[in-house]
């Protein structure tokens, strides 16, 4: 073959370039990922899963949950809100007048209209978010000005996006959330809702069990298949069902004298679902928690 060496070298370069882009660059970027610290705190993140929840990750994988559920929350934007928490000794009207007087400042020019709009129909209810902007410098300036005038206001970092509006989380998912996942099961199809924060949204293990056994018993319109084979239907040992039997009723209940108990796999899967919790502020995904840590 003529030019065999050249073709060989070209093939190596082409494969090497895609290897660099798809394997080397991500591993340089995410390979050194370690435990990180929660913003404004000394707590580390993420927490190691319990043994049961770690096993549950494999149950999640074996049952192909990631085929219909994602574990990643998207975020489109980020805004800074200035929230008024206390008027001090002044009245709402005084505050409006004071803010009006600030409008001559050239650095506030881009936001004067939005501030005026939000304060127009305001009757003094607190807390009041009177400025939402993508420019942190303007918000900082505003907080300084109004705090110097004796009222109390604070900055709130507010992520936004359709996933967050659905209540699936308070910030986007980042690499640190998956530090202990082996394998990482991001998922790409959302036949069901996102599960990145299911441990917060449905923190009840019994609810998770009922939902796995008979999804329609807790969510009437659910299209999720039933995972009945993770449970055992067995004869009751006595007159009363055992403590870990599911509290099923109506069409979902087992025949009289029988009870539905979770197998180890069901318990592990539920523990894994409860461990899904990506809801703390991090450096790479900052936000202001709703419950203020202020004394």
């Amino acid at each position: 073959m003529k030019n065999g060496i050249a073709i060989f070298i070209a093939a190596i370069v082409a494969l090497g370039a895609s290897w660099c882009g798809l394997v080397l660059a991500p591993s340089l970027q995410l390979g050194p990922a370690r435990l990180t610290t929660v913003l404004n705190s000394t707590d580390t993140y993420p927490l190691q899963r319990t043994g049961e929840a770690s096993l549950g990750l494999q149950v999640y994988r074996a049952n192909g949950c990631a085929a219909c559920h994602t574990e990643q929350v998207r975020q489109d934007g980020i805004a800074v809100e200035v929230m008024l928490t206390s008027l001090g000794t002044s009245k709402a009207e005084d505050f409006k007048a004071f803010v009006q007087s600030l409008f001559i400042l050239p650095e506030l020019a881009p936001v004067t209209n939005t501030i005026a709009d939000s304060l127009q129909a305001w009757n003094g209810d607190l807390p009041k978010i009177f400025l939402v902007t993508g420019d942190k410098a303007i918000a900082d300036e505003m907080v300084q000005r109004v705090n110097a005038a004796g009222v109390k206001s604070q900055l709130r970092i507010a992520p936004s996006g359709p996933d967050l509006a659905r209540g699936w989380g308070t910030r986007r998912s980042v690499a640190a959330d998956f530090l202990y996942d082996q394998p990482v099961q991001l998922g790409s199809l959302r036949a069901g809702p996102d599960l990145a924060n299911i441990g917060i949204r449905q923190p009840d293990a019994n609810w998770q069990m009922l939902h796995l056994y008979a999804p329609k018993s807790v969510v009437p319109n659910s299209t999720m298949p039933s995972f009945k084979y993770l449970f055992a239907v067995r004869k009751m040992a006595g007159a009363a069902p055992s403590p870990d039997a599911l509290a099923l009723s109506g069409e979902f209940a087992p025949p009289a004298g029988f009870e539905v108990v979770p197998t180890a796999a069901a318990r592990e899967l539920a523990a894994y679902l409860l461990s899904l919790n990506a809801n703390v502020p991090l450096y790479e995904a900052p936000f202001t928690p709703v419950t203020s840590a202020k004394p």
Partner: protein, 202 residues
């Protein structure tokens, strides 16, 4: 003359096809280099390898830095409270009131509410041992150097918190202040006594 037998057999077979080398056009090389250059610029500004991770909607490390809720007194107090509750609150109480037999109060204490904080900063950095008087009450306890392992910023935040909470109204402490005090202090390993602390500049 033309060789008839060869002509009949395979027309054109007297010329072997060959591949010639020719240089790629200059404009392709230039366009590739320009694209690479701007690609590298984009890559550089949208997150650096192995360091900070920049995710959508953030576009650069500077922008991400600007959105960190670390500016302002509220952030320092919030951070201070978190550190205090996990490090100091166990003995001094999360309300700062102290616990009998464990630790004296911090509320309105003459050791905490002071104009400067040099003396106060030394207490968590080195520890205290032996008799000490707080708000007219005699204590004889020992406190380990609880703050020695905290970062400058964390220690500053916790001092800001105890000086500005529960009705205390003393000024804030910054990480740079703690850094300075740490540098001046050198390698003191013995906990202070109450007398030593009293002799220290406020």
């Amino acid at each position: 003359m033309i060789d008839d037998s060869k002509k009949d057999c395979c027309p054109g077979s007297d010329t072997e096809p060959t591949v010639t080398r020719s240089a790629a056009p200059m404009w392709i090389i230039v366009v590739t280099l320009v694209l690479l250059f701007f690609g590298a610029l984009f890559f550089d500004s949208h997150g650096d390898l192995g360091g900070k991770q920049i995710y959508t909607p953030f576009t650069s490390a500077e922008q991400l830095d600007s959105f960190q809720p670390k500016s302002g007194a509220d952030a320092a107090l919030a951070r201070g409270k978190t550190v205090y509750d996990s490090v100091c609150g166990i003995c001094h109480g999360v309300d700062g009131a102290g616990k009998p037999g464990q630790a004296p109060t911090l509320v309105d204490s003459e050791w905490v509410v002071t104009k400067n904080f040099n003396r106060l900063a030394h207490i968590p950095l080195v520890g205290v041992n032996g008799p000490i008087q707080v708000k007219g009450k005699d204590w004889s306890m020992s406190m380990a150097a609880m703050g020695a392992s905290l970062s400058d910023d964390d220690l500053a935040a916790v001092l800001t918190y105890i000086r500005g909470s529960w009705g205390n109204k003393a000024g804030a402490v910054t990480g740079d202040d703690i850094k300075k005090i740490r540098a001046e202090m050198g390698k003191t390993s013995q906990p202070y006594t109450g007398e030593q602390l009293k002799a220290m500049a406020e």
